[in-house]
């Protein structure tokens, strides 16, 4: 499975084994300057992260940067039931969004990859165009729609979050199924296997890395969304992680260490999922190859 993904997706930009197995180039002046420059950029990129790391373990954290008085108290403080609920809400929103979008995107991706469909090129262009539409454009009409339909709650919001990731998921899965050899399917067709049977027994296992990557993309997209839950969820008990962070900042007594600790708890799942995704398929394929430029 992995071999297939590798062959079709090109070398994996960021798989850890690549980074380690690359032999050190011959050290000359030019290479030295290049390495130092890269290291310098890396240090600059690290600087903003310092506050998050230090403050999350600092007993006297503030917006400023200072040597932390190391404590684990911030982390235990933020695991109150309200905060745990907001992380659960984030999980619920992201899980429903992922399941809905990935299921329908797999069906559509299969049809667009394998079937003769009138105006297929136009359809794919529309999908590509929708991939690039900023979500903030839709927030007023969707709010108005959801008010009218009385949908301002978790499940309909989750479905909308799923749809915002749907165009890219279709694109990704379609391209991945394109790379699955068609011979197996032709053989199954000769045995008169039904479409759903082919999807379940052939396409699903063979395109699993691509489908999983699309699912993870959908999850990260929904997990990170701030504007949509902020507008579409009215009940305080429904608020997900990012809205909770936002309310921390505006609170009467700002507890900086807690904000940092909670942000770490909220952010770590995304990083872990990204690592899994870049193992499944190359990061380069996911983002560059998905749109054949």
């Amino acid at each position: 499975m992995k071999g297939l993904a590798r062959v079709t997706s090109g070398p994996d930009a960021l798989a850890p084994e690549d980074m380690i197995s690359v032999p050190a180039p011959r050290v000359d002046a030019q290479a030295l300057v290049g390495n130092l420059l890269l290291l310098g950029i890396g240090v600059l990129f690290m600087l903003p992260l310092l506050w998050l790391i230090f403050s999350s373990i600092d007993a006297n954290a503030s917006w400023g940067i200072e040597m932390p008085q190391i404590t684990a108290k911030n982390f235990s403080d933020v695991t109150t039931s309200d905060n745990v609920t907001s992380l659960y809400n984030s999980f619920y929103l992201a899980a429903i969004a992922t399941i809905v979008a990935t299921a329908v995107a797999t069906l559509a991706g299969y049809a667009l990859s394998r079937r003769r469909i009138p105006l297929k090129k136009s359809l794919m262009l529309i999908v590509l165009f929708l991939t690039g539409i900023p979500v903030s454009i839709m927030i007023v009409p969707v709010y108005q729609m959801y008010v009218t339909l009385n949908w301002l709650s978790l499940f309909p919001t989750a479905v909308f979050l799923g749809v915002t990731g749907l165009p890219f998921e279709i694109w990704l899965i379609k391209n991945f199924i394109d790379s699955v050899p068609i011979e197996l399917e032709e053989a199954a067709r000769m045995e008169r296997a039904g479409t759903l049977q082919i999807l379940r027994t052939l396409i699903l296992p063979l395109a699993l890395p691509g489908i999983a990557a699309a699912a993870i993309y959908g999850f990260i997209n929904a997990w990170g969304s701030f504007l949509i839950p902020l507008i579409l969820l009215s009940s305080p008990g429904d608020q997900p992680g990012p809205v909770t962070i936002y309310s921390f900042i505006g609170a009467a007594v700002v507890r900086y260490g807690d904000i940092a600790a909670f942000s770490v708890l909220y952010s770590v799942p995304v990083i872990v999922l990204f690592l899994i995704m870049s193992r499944l398929i190359g990061g380069g394929f996911l983002l560059g190859g998905a749109i054949k430029g």
């Binding site: 890269l38 890396g42 903003p48 839709m138 749809v163 165009p167 942000s263 990061g283 749109i291």
Partner: protein, 308 residues
């Protein structure tokens, strides 16, 4: 390639088909059934809202009050407001700076520089710097905004390193700070896409030019850049759209302030709709963003000649 090893494992007992071929050559109604769920969801919750926004932009819909329920078509009234709205023009200029200055130029150039440096870097440095840049990109937008707020405010890391702890750069140079934050948060994306593109530059060509003793800059301008051009165009479009959509970063760092100085269109649209209760005017500002996104996409299709 076509005859993969897996195909051999299919039972050899298969008979020749005795009916019409059921592969991609024929249109099947069942195909539409497979597309139906996606089409319904995209039509209902994507295309319809975008279209509906164009209608709402020409009504008097408000968040609260009598026209929250009974809004009506008011023709070009909002458009009149728009052309006389100085904040809108300011917002348009700021959006341009944000999308082109920070996104297209800043992110793409830094991403390309990173991709080029990574290509020849020592493994350890590559792994460490690559991880840092990618974590910066993967962090949820709200976390990135929070980090940059702390980074650029008084007593923040930036002020301390400048040996001027009292300096509040977020207040004195807010637009620069949100642009830098966007570059920081998006460069990892550009780096990954462009690294993948760099791998398509054939090694033989590079080696040949090395043998001929071509200088590094010459090699970059005359070989790498032309081969990389389609990937760069793709990156520019994607980064432009990502930046145009970057509401959370700016809203949390500055909320458009101080005094509208960072009020890019997504933030101004939100502000009009949900802070000033002018939902219809907020929708119209959103329509302007649809137009901008469409122009970006069309320019891309023209320049890159997308193949599907």
């Amino acid at each position: 390639m076509a005859r993969s090893a897996q195909a051999i494992t299919i039972p050899a007992s298969l008979e020749m088909p005795s009916g019409p071929r059921q592969d991609r050559e024929h249109f099947q109604w069942g195909s539409l059934l497979l597309l139906l769920p996606s089409v319904l969801l995209l039509a209902g919750l994507f295309l319809f809202p975008v279209g509906y926004a164009f209608y709402l932009g020409f009504t008097n819909l408000a968040l609260i009050g009598p026209t929250a329920q009974n809004f009506q078509f008011t023709g070009a009234a909002n458009l009149q407001t728009l052309v006389h709205d100085s904040v809108f023009y300011q917002s348009l200029v700021l959006t341009f700076i944000f999308v082109f200055g920070s996104g297209v130029v800043g992110v793409t150039v830094l991403g390309l520089l990173l991709a080029l440096l990574m290509q020849h870097a020592v493994g350890v440095i590559r792994a460490i710097v690559g991880s840092i840049v990618i974590v910066s990109w993967m962090l949820p937008p709200v976390t990135a905004a929070l980090i940059w707020y702390a980074f650029s405010t008084a007593n923040g890391t930036m002020a301390v390193l400048a040996l001027n702890p009292k300096a509040d750069y977020l207040h004195t140079a807010p637009m620069l700070m949100v642009c830098l934050a966007n570059i920081w948060a998006t460069a990892g994306f550009a780096m990954i896409v462009l690294s993948a593109g760099l791998r398509n530059v054939p090694a033989e060509i590079i080696e040949a030019s090395q043998v001929e003793g071509a200088r590094i800059w010459h090699r970059f301008w005359s070989i790498t850049l032309p081969i990389m051009w389609p990937t760069i165009v793709t990156t520019v479009l994607l980064v432009g759209l990502l930046t145009l959509a970057n509401f959370s970063l700016v809203y949390i760092m500055t909320a458009g302030g101080p005094g509208n100085s960072t009020n890019i269109l997504p933030v101004y649209s939100y502000q009009q709709a949900f802070s000033f209760d002018h939902l219809a005017y907020g929708a119209l500002l959103g329509d302007v963003m649809v137009v901008i996104a469409t122009i970006l996409a069309f320019a891309y299709v023209r320049v890159a000649r997308v193949t599907i």
